[in-house]
Amino acid sequence: MNALTKPAFDVARIRQDFPILGEKIRGKDLVFLDSAASAQKPRVVIDAMVHAMEHQYANVHRGLHWMSERTTEAYEEVRDALATLLNAPDRSHIVITHSSTEAINLVANSYGRGTLKPGQAVVISAMEHHANLVPWQMLRDAHGIELRIAPITDSGELDMAGYEALLQDRKVGLVSITHMSNVLGTYTPAERIVKLAHQYGARAMLDGSQAVVHRAVDVQALDVDFYAITGHKLYGPTGIGALYAKRELLDAMPPWMGGGDMIRSVSFDVTTWNDAPYKFEAGTPAILEGIGLKAAIDYVQGIGFEAIAAHERQLTEHALSRLAEIDGVTVIGHAQDRGGVVSFTLDGAHAHDVATLLDRQGIAVRAGHHCAEPLMRRLGLDSTSRASFGIYSTMEEVDALATALIRIREFFR
């Protein structure tokens, strides 16, 4: 099927694929605007996992029986799906992890301790999720790495001059920056981030936890060295994620976690490692979750990222314009290039009160520091409320949010 024959984006039809969207909250239709925290699951993902448990389940990679062989085959398909999703050259570039957090920790512990030398620096940005901050602090404290923070502008974009200034002494060994902010919705200029890093002799990682959900990602076009993603924001199950890495890096990197599956042979004296990517995958993997994620990737690719991005752009623009009309509501972050995440504050009302009062009206948003405390401090805030959109979100839901916020504002007067 080519792009011309792909059916038009039909949100009503997509919503039918998600059983949970039929639920009522306090007698009201669920308005789920918290997909950036974790997305809902389509029927195909649920069915794939249930089908595996009912018909085709055993441990993978080592069984010699029919069930194990079939399960291994089904599970390993997710590696191919991930390679296609990210446009990796082939499946050997994909390490399957339990989350993007684990993918980042893998790089910090393996590449960080194995290749970076004490005295070298790692650059992150001022708008990282804790998952792309804390592993580097741990590396700094254990391994003598300097941690540098690239500044952001008041509009919530990466300050590219400030970023380049951090690279200029050529002490930076690795840059690790978000591809899309989970708080501000900002898409960072990934190509330029990577290019500048390379220009100054550093490797580059992108945290794609948010970005990969909303737009097509091409790791080869980006020329990025490491790319971390998670499954549960991509309409797949929790407990599964992936790391893309250039093959020569994976080959040179030491294993991080030891255990079964990651070894070639073991004796009390000496153990040899399996080849990449398996040497990074210790223990029984998340088999059912891998099967579920494969179904999720097929599902979103069936819809197509062009259509998904267009739908979410429309929703985000509508949300920004509706929220701008409401007195006392301030949208946080005004990046030129942004995805379907909108953080805001309401004068005189704490973000937690706003979230609870939205929940009373059947609307689910996130409130708090969004696992990005240093960013909150940079913005001079303790917390924000955040509405985030998925493929199933509708213009009517954005309107429901605006109407509910106006009520809350009146309630607080």
Partner: protein, 150 residues
């Protein structure tokens, strides 16, 4: 017109959350403690002044949501005039009340608006934040201070 919102955010919570009566540091105090909720950045600083063996006055400084501030404000009135032991008893009752939604001690009717938080599980910690600080302040006050620190 706000019936759906008022089940949790009753008038008492809204008024005291917006304009607390006891939301200031005491000029003179003999016990104090801070509480914070790292999940949302809310914080409270509780100040106690004793007269003889009872709490004469409680004031607080807080940055937080309507529920945590209203809870602190109600707390100031609930413990004023009470012995430390009774104040701790009241705190324990509040910890139970916000979980069960039941007010078993009729003398604590003042605190009834906090019981509604039991049906908003994610907000229980907002209501208990000042009461946890009160427990710390009482544990560190007067003669007990040395033994706690030792």
């Amino acid at each position: 017109m706000f019936e759906d919102l008022r089940t949790l955010y009753q008038d008492t919570i809204m008024q005291r959350g917006k304009s607390p009566k006891h939301g200031q540091r005491l000029a003179v105090f003999d016990a104090e403690a801070k509480g914070d909720n790292p999940m949302c950045g809310d914080r409270v600083h509780v100040f106690l002044r004793h007269e003889g063996d009872h709490v004469a006055e409680l004031g607080f400084e807080a940055r937080g949501c309507a529920i945590s501030i209203a809870s602190a404000d109600l707390m100031a009135e609930a413990v004023a005039g009470q012995s430390d032991a009774r104040a701790l008893e009241i705190a324990n009752s509040v910890f139970a009340m916000v979980r069960t939604g039941e007010v078993t001690d009729p003398s604590l009717d003042l605190l009834r608006p906090l019981a509604a938080v039991s049906e908003a599980k994610s907000r229980i910690k907002c209501a208990t934040l000042p009461w946890g600080a009160l427990q710390s302040a009482l544990a560190g006050s007067g003669a007990e201070k040395g033994s706690v620190e030792a």
